[in-house]
Symmetry: C2
Subunit: 413 residues, 2 copies
Amino acid sequence: MPVHYVPPAPADLLPVPGASLGTAAAKIKNWQRDDVLLAVFAPGTVAAGVFTQNRFCAAPVTVCRRHLGGHGERAAPIRALIVNAGNANAGTGEPGLGAAESTCAAVASMLGCTLQEVLPFSTGVIMEPLPLAKIVAALPAARAALAPDHWFRAVSAIMTTDTVPKGASRRVQVDGVAVTVTGIAKGAGMIHPNMATMLSFIATDAPIGAALLPALTRAIADVSFNCATVDGDTSTNDSFVIAATGQAPLAPIERADDPRLAAVRAALTEVATELAQALVRDGEGATKFMTIAVEGGRSAAECRKIALGIAHSPLVKTAFFASDPNLGRIVCAIGNAAAPDLDPALVSFWLDDVLVVDRGGRAASYREEDGQRVMKNAEIAVRVALGRGDASSTVWTCDFSHDYVSINADYRS
Amino acid sequence: MPVHYVPPAPADLLPVPGASLGTAAAKIKNWQRDDVLLAVFAPGTVAAGVFTQNRFCAAPVTVCRRHLGGHGERAAPIRALIVNAGNANAGTGEPGLGAAESTCAAVASMLGCTLQEVLPFSTGVIMEPLPLAKIVAALPAARAALAPDHWFRAVSAIMTTDTVPKGASRRVQVDGVAVTVTGIAKGAGMIHPNMATMLSFIATDAPIGAALLPALTRAIADVSFNCATVDGDTSTNDSFVIAATGQAPLAPIERADDPRLAAVRAALTEVATELAQALVRDGEGATKFMTIAVEGGRSAAECRKIALGIAHSPLVKTAFFASDPNLGRIVCAIGNAAAPDLDPALVSFWLDDVLVVDRGGRAASYREEDGQRVMKNAEIAVRVALGRGDASSTVWTCDFSHDYVSINADYRS
């Protein structure tokens, strides 16, 4: 069960004018459920994405980069996303690239658009050939199922080890016009903030200009998905795409200083942050949700390295699982991740409101029962003060449980 | 149970002329066993060490560096090691440093040597005050128990989550004189090759010169303990010390090109390697022992980064635990750790003799049942060829099991 996360009801995910979603069962794995998602957008829609930094990136990631990259720094016009669960089409070499392109070609032919206007995404087992024929055969059914209010079905079709579907919507007023932002995300393991860290798609009818959307997408990824980590493994397939249909009756928002952008940006950020935290709350085997905030560093990069060092330490994560205030492990993780010139005598840390380490040593006020009280909570904040600057960084992570091992030992069986 | 490791019998650990070991029960934790080790060396013994790179290094590590560091690049004369299990004396600030120095002072007073000739070591829980009085009170009993053939008792006294004591001996002939090398090591979790990665002590009666020993110690650590990793967490206390008593009736070995050094160096390397692999074989919860070799890189550092990336991936480690040839996870780990300019199309990897990935994609010859056959073994070799240079690097690691979680969730209870 996810930690403090109530999944959306179907009606919570608001339709976005200009976006329709349809799902179908391609039977890629032996699942009794839909496993293919087709999202179709109105003409005029532009999209931008951020993708995994893994050097063995999946074939669909390479194809997305090609299709989006032909427009320089501008967002690309797109008409459809095609997504499958159950097979990652990663580590599949040239045949995998061909299969990803062929999937797009089949969608383009069906919809009457260009190949470049279709973006492919895959999630599932790595290094198995993509069952192209099954996916292509499922396309007519997915098209027949297209509807603006199928966001819940959409996210349900792309789940793998997720225990619940994740989605969020916001509706904001811009110059008296209602603008909608709806996003979905999947992912529970192999999650690490070296990029978008999973599959997530957000659509809005706000008319965000093609010159503005790529940088906006990167900035939103940085404060949302790039702060989430489950196990430090960056997937080969991570992809985050924002599609702006432009269907809201507003003049285009072309510049970053357009005052109308603030409300749209806030809504996009809220949706992305809620989705990113939902991924961690539903992390494989997670029983706790931790916010790791490191402040007082010389740079945000330094703070982030230490926050991730804490978040990725198996010893820290198992201590949280056990609700055991074995807090020396956090000290150890800080010491491993810190720069060589960090002075431990300036470092303090808190567990929620409890001061544990006071400038390099155990705080005189610290009592084991206070640590124990906090560790029993399902949601815990760790705050580290480095005492040598003004920079800070925050990441979200979960604990490391027996179920993580079970889920990942049994994943393919 | 350790993977393919038969612990030594007491008689297997050969006495080293000039070294005596005594243990006692200081009752630092609620253990029915000895938990303090005193090792005493004959006058003329020199020692060199390598220590954790963790910035929150433990007080005894700081004291060891002080005591060894007063002689520049030369090995320091030493007379005793004092080691306790059950408390790491780390994250303890100034009081911890005082406690480590006081322990040394008590030993020095008892033996009639200088404070600087005593090296302290601690292993156990971090951030608890060292129970100095208990350790000092146990010193007379440890001294009374001193004997040259107590190596097995010695290593038994410093175990924490180790399931078996680890030790190794070699006897080699140098100019017709028998020279002995005996070493012990403890450590099962919090093990990562950013230094000596645990406590290990090796003694030899070879008359290795003070100018030669420090570099020799570092070189031996690099090919042994620095190739071992269990969970990627570098402890605050890692220490590896070689003590040379000089008791063998040989003229001093002062230069690296002394032909007599080869046999001694080989024996030291064999003992250190056997101990380092034993730590991994007895890694917390380990059921498999993996050798990860990366070759064809531009630099050893590049190869090592990728080897560690594979060795530290929780997804790879749980797949090995499950004997599941979910080998896409290895591809993913390579892609995460590789340099941005790595060309995946040149990368191949083998599982033992089975070619899995052939230049970027699944090998045409690869069959699932071949991968399955290898994955069922308790000892497995992963070989990665990067196809862009001549450098290579190897690390040893173990899998990630339910027992790892149990051991670390329950450690303090």
